[in-house]
């Protein structure tokens, strides 16, 4: 396998896995649910994007034809990640989960729970 293709694939793999790891680290260490929500929705999505691009380049080179079906997973994750985050935030508000004390505008979550204007 050519050196530079190997280099690009390796770089994407490492970058992607670092992002996946950072997302999970955020899930594990951040202090309250709403801040924890940020890690998986963003970092993990981009991490998966990088891994799938690496897979795309690798398979295209390996099999000798343009392989784009990994794009489908990337697109699917990009569309579903915000929906999941939104539903989870809604659920958390409904259950009145503990909000970190230093959060400013805490009262807004109460208004959001009732779906009223602030």
């Amino acid at each position: 396998m050519e050196f530079w293709i190997e280099l690009v694939v390796s770089a994407f793999l490492i970058l992607g896995s670092i992002f996946v790891f950072v997302g999970s680290l955020g899930l594990a260490k951040l202090p309250d649910f709403y801040t924890r929500l940020h890690g998986p929705t963003k970092a993990t999505t981009l991490g998966m994007g990088c891994l799938l691009i690496a897979s795309m380049i690798f398979v295209t080179y390996q099999q000798g034809y343009l392989s784009v079906h990994e794009l489908l997973i990337t697109l699917f994750l990009l569309i579903t990640a915000p929906v999941t985050a939104h539903m989870l935030a809604k659920t958390a508000m409904h259950h009145e989960l503990e909000i970190l004390d230093k959060t400013s505008n805490k009262a807004l979550s109460q208004r959001a729970r009732e779906r009223m204007s602030p």
Binding site: E6, S17, L37, P40, T45, F58, L72, T84
Partner: protein
């Protein structure tokens, strides 16, 4: 070089799975657990993709796609369930 990169990536993804598992057990609330499960779904897709690259086959693509779809649907269903207490209204 590629095999080393795959090894490092696999280790990182496995570590993230362990972190997710820790969050899944620790909670403290149900939304936390659902979020941990959802992240585990995504991380297991990453693991399957890495396995596919290391064994240079495209056979696992369908498995990854299925996990992505089932993961989203089950997360949405669980959110809906604890939000309303019912799935079909």
């Amino acid at each position: 070089m590629l095999s080393t990169a795959i090894l490092i990536a696999t280790i990182l993804v496995c570590l993230s799975l362990i972190l997710n598992l820790w969050r899944l057990f620790k909670g403290p609330d149900r939304p936390d657990r659902i979020l941990a499960l959802d992240t585990m779904y995504i991380n297991s897709i990453a693991l399957i993709i890495l396995f596919g690259i290391s064994s240079s086959t495209t056979l696992y693509f369908e498995a990854a796609l299925l996990i992505a779809m089932l993961g989203f649907v089950s997360t949405a269903a669980m959110c809906k369930y604890i939000l309303r207490g019912d799935l079909i209204e």
